[in-house]
């Protein structure tokens, strides 16, 4: 039985340019799982981080923040989007009991992605500033590693960088819901991959039949801050096929000294 809670998946990731990987997502997560090696196109990936971060880590490109090295890195406006379309791959173990659920969570991806887990497919829609939480309970297995492959696509409108006057490039990036400094600004060189990548935390979380979603805390103040009320509203999702009778508890503590808490 797996412990309730979150496990961050920030190590063990590998990556490869999509154009040099001869397999699709189903194959990568079933019969042809990738590995590192002298003849392999796969390299250690930086998660969270961008495609450029992974390329810098593996010395495929120079560090763009030194000297004029950024100029030697091909811009997505010249290379095309497929040049910075990358596969990311990792594995994890799970040991769910009958009533437990497992979510695979991406706190942010730029810009969209195709997720494969043990041969099953889920689309991760467009938008740099959105969370993706996928219930993968029906896809995971406890008798071996679970294989995860994520094909990350760059922004739809990466734009082109004019030879002079970097200010916002050709402004195409503004058509997407993504960070806009990446086409360059008066204080910033263009970012060649436009920050494509799995750029924030990836995790798996185990829950029972009921999941807590996005609690909201609000406080109100009276009598010169002597009288204060804390309100908490939360969404709850019952993923089982029977009514869930729940005990819902809220506890507020403050650390007095060391590990001593006041309840």
């Amino acid at each position: 039985m797996a412990a309730i809670g979150k496990t961050i998946l920030d190590s063990g990731w590998i990556a490869a340019r999509s154009t040099v990987v001869p397999f699709n997502g189903v194959q990568l997560t079933t019969t042809n799982s990738p590995s590192l090696g002298p003849d392999s196109p796969w390299m250690e990936a930086v998660i969270p981080g961008t495609v450029l971060a992974t390329l810098v880590k593996n010395n495929v490109i120079p560090d763009p923040f030194y000297g004029l090295e950024n100029d030697s890195i091909i811009d997505i406006g010249d290379s095309g989007r497929e040049f910075y379309t990358f596969w990311f791959f990792t594995t994890f173990q799970s040991n769910l009991s009958g009533s437990q659920h497992l979510d695979l969570n991406f706190r942010a991806i730029n810009y969209s992605a195709d997720l494969y887990i043990n041969g099953h497919y889920k689309a991760l829609p467009k938008g740099m500033f959105r969370r993706h939480s996928v219930d993968v309970t029906d896809f995971v297995r406890s008798d071996g590693p679970n294989l995860v492959a994520v094909l990350v696509h760059p922004p739809d409108h990466p734009g082109k960088i004019p030879p002079e006057n970097y200010q916002g490039g050709d402004h195409e990036i503004g058509k997407d819901v993504a960070t806009q400094y990446v086409e360059g600004w008066d204080w910033m060189c263009p970012i060649r991959d436009r920050n494509t990548g799995i750029w924030d935390e990836v995790s798996i979380s185990v829950t029972g039949p009921v999941k807590i979603i996005d609690p909201h805390l609000v406080s109100t103040f009276f009598d010169n801050y002597k009288r204060v009320y804390l309100y908490c509203t939360t969404e709850l999702e019952n993923r089982s096929n029977q009514v869930a009778e729940c005990s819902l508890t809220i506890q507020v503590t403050t650390e007095l000294e060391g590990n001593t808490c006041m309840v």
Binding site: I4, P48, T50, A53, V56, R107, M128, F129, R130, Q167, G168, H171, G174, D176, V177, T179, Q180, Y181, V182, W185, N195, G197, D200, G208, V210, K211, I212, P215, H216, L217, V218, S219, F221, F222, D223, Y225, R227, V228, Y229, L230, C232, T234, E235, L236, E237, N238, R239, Q242, V243, A244, E245, C246, S247, L248, T249, I250, V252, T253, T254, C261
Partner: protein
């Protein structure tokens, strides 16, 4: 008094929203911006146990009690902030991100934000052309007393200006913009350092986006009513 359990029955395969009865605090330690007092934080833990299954899920967050208001001063045109009733002289900096390869670690955020606090800053403005910053960023702003001015993703150079002229109506997909905005608010709203949401950089977003953002971000009337009711009965409070 700060431990409360309530019973909830959730139909099969469905979602519901539950509001706890309010928790009362007498003179809690307040959270203050850098330079005005301590950054007191309380640990709020929510757990759900399901009959026959035991613990099903839990959630925790460090929460600071602070009342923050701001308004545009008609005399100067500047925005004035008050925290816990006290006016704050804002000393701040513009912020895009700490690493353009987005290798964003807790340690890096801690170092960057402590550095701003050590400079006696009390506010950071997250520019619209950069990131909606991450929870770790906000965590350390909570810890070090930095107020955050967070902008959504509208800049002057992607709204009909620039050479060549940019798309005049913001991002192409307005529902996607609003989806991302709403999800970002849900991600960050419990941080006491979060001081102000701003539609975009030096401008107002397209009319429909602006109207929806303003509507979604206004104070829930429920809390306004509570505030009014409690003010009426304040004299009877023992």
């Amino acid at each position: 008094e700060h431990l409360q359990t309530e019973h909830v029955s959730i139909p099969a395969g469905s979602k519901l929203q539950h509001s706890f009865n309010e928790l009362f605090f007498y003179k809690p330690n307040l959270w203050w911006p850098n330079g005005m007092g301590k950054q007191s934080l309380y640990n709020v833990v929510v757990t759900v146990d399901v009959k026959g299954n035991g613990e099903s899920d839990s959630w925790s967050h460090l929460y600071g009690f602070r009342q923050l208001v701001s308004h545009i001063d008609t005399a100067t045109g500047g925005r004035l902030f008050k925290v816990n009733g006290q006016p704050v002289f804002i000393r701040g900096g513009n912020w895009i991100l700490s690493d353009a390869l987005l290798r964003l670690t807790k340690k890096r955020y801690q170092t960057d934000i402590k550095f701003h606090a050590d400079m006696n800053f009390n506010m950071m403005r997250c520019w619209a052309g950069g990131l909606a910053e991450r929870p770790e960023f906000y965590h350390y702003c909570d810890v070090y007393g930095i107020l955050v001015w967070q902008e959504f993703w509208i800049t002057g150079d992607v709204d009909g200006r620039g050479i060549p002229v940019s798309n005049p109506n913001g991002p192409l997909d307005h529902p996607l913009f609003l989806f991302c905005a709403r999800d970002t608010v849900k991600l960050l709203r419990n941080h006491c350092s979060l001081a102000l949401w701003v539609g975009g950089n030096e401008q107002v977003p397209p009319e429909d986006l602006n109207a929806d953002l303003k509507n979604d971000l206004k104070l829930n009337p429920y809390y306004e009513n509570i505030q009014n009711e409690n003010n009426k009965s304040a004299e009877n409070f023992s």
